[in-house]
């Protein structure tokens, strides 16, 4: 699942399609495929790590850059909600405010789940 703008556009779809190189997009989607079929309690490094008590990160490396997708589990529906994507150089994220954005979006979702949509970009096959 991904966070959606008020207009209904998925922010991770936008990030993967338009804001990162396609090497990174491919790696991102392969990482999601692996996590998707891994039981939640086995989500570990190198693909996943907790970030702080509220949010965690999906991790992958592409084009000589670390990439992070911040999100959190919606435990009641057993889904991971991706909030924002970023690249990371040293301790600097691009966009710089990625962590703050993730926290703000998480707060929004905890109150109201209307800004959520399914993410299907990583699926090799979909129902016709």
């Amino acid at each position: 699942m991904e966070f959606a703008t008020l207009g209904g556009r998925g922010v991770l779809s936008q990030w993967a399609d338009k804001e990162i190189e396609f090497e990174a997009e491919i790696e991102f989607h392969a990482t999601l495929r692996v996590l998707e079929v891994t039981p939640r309690d086995l989500w570990t490094r190198p693909e996943y790590a907790p970030f702080d008590p509220d949010i965690s990160e999906i991790r992958f490396f592409a084009n000589s850059l670390q990439h992070r997708v911040f999100g959190f589990f919606l435990f009641d529906v057993n889904q991971y909600l991706m909030l924002v994507g970023a690249t990371k150089k040293g301790k600097i994220y691009n966009p710089r405010e990625a962590v703050e954005t993730a926290r703000k979006r998480r707060k929004l979702i905890v109150k109201d789940r209307s800004q959520i949509r399914e993410y299907t970009g990583h699926k090799p096959k979909v129902a016709r």
Binding site: F22, E27, A30, E36, P46, P124, V126, A127
Partner: protein
């Protein structure tokens, strides 16, 4: 019923040769380590145990699992396959079949049974199937005892599973549908056109079922 097709977004991107090449490489690089982890978990093997079986070191296994399989050669893959006692497929494939493969990451596909256990299972199944075929022949003979108002030709007998109900497929205006024998009371479904009736025998044997006349049940 919906069918699965290649994700249209992916299909569009795969038209680019560079994207295609990177896509294939990335799946291999990511999915082989994933499968190694899945197989290790299914077999209860530590990295050390796998390393020993594959004639390598624990640090190499750790590196594959964490950094990907990009630098693995076929010889190393064969050693890993041997350590897990599974076969290894390395071949050139059309892209659509490759996508089928990366689409199916089910536990059955990612953690195949050890060849040793699988071959024994196949041998046991073949023996059970022979026994079931004999059983099916006996039941086919028995079905001839039914009086139906139109002749039924049994064209094939399918054995669904060892010791489980044989499935009879008959073609004619009257069709005999799955019939339970000998685990439960024999039952026969008879259909004509769009009308179907299910009749069940009271006993547990074909002989007991002979008390029925499916003819009465057919509309």
């Amino acid at each position: 019923m919906s069918t699965q097709v290649i994700n249209p977004k992916l299909l569009d991107k795969l038209k680019d040769k560079k994207y295609r090449d990177l896509f294939v490489a990335s799946q291999i690089n990511k999915l082989i380590p994933f499968q190694i982890r899945a197989l290790r978990a299914a077999r209860g093997m530590t990295q050390e145990e796998l390393a020993e079986g594959a004639e390598t070191t624990q640090s190499v296994i750790s590196r594959i699992q964490n950094r990907g399989a990009a630098n693995l050669n076929v010889k190393s893959l064969l050693k890993l396959a041997s350590a897990f006692d599974v076969a290894l497929t390395v071949r050139f494939e059309p892209i659509d079949r490759f996508i089928d493969w990366v689409d199916d990451l089910s536990p059955e596909v990612m953690s195949p049974k050890p060849s040793d256990a699988l071959l024994e299972e196949i041998e046991r199944e073949a023996a059970s199937e022979d026994a079931a075929q004999n059983n099916a022949a006996e039941v086919t003979e028995w079905l001839k005892g039914f009086t139906l108002h139109e002749p039924v030709t049994i064209t094939s007998v399918q054995v669904q599973a060892p010791n489980f109900a044989p499935k009879f497929v008959a073609t004619s205006p009257i069709q005999l549908l799955p019939f339970m024998y000998p685990l439960a009371a024999p039952a026969i479904s008879v259909s004509k056109g769009t009308t179907q009736r299910r009749v069940a025998a009271e006993g547990r044997t074909p002989q007991a079922a002979l008390r029925f006349s499916p003819k009465k049940e057919v509309a």
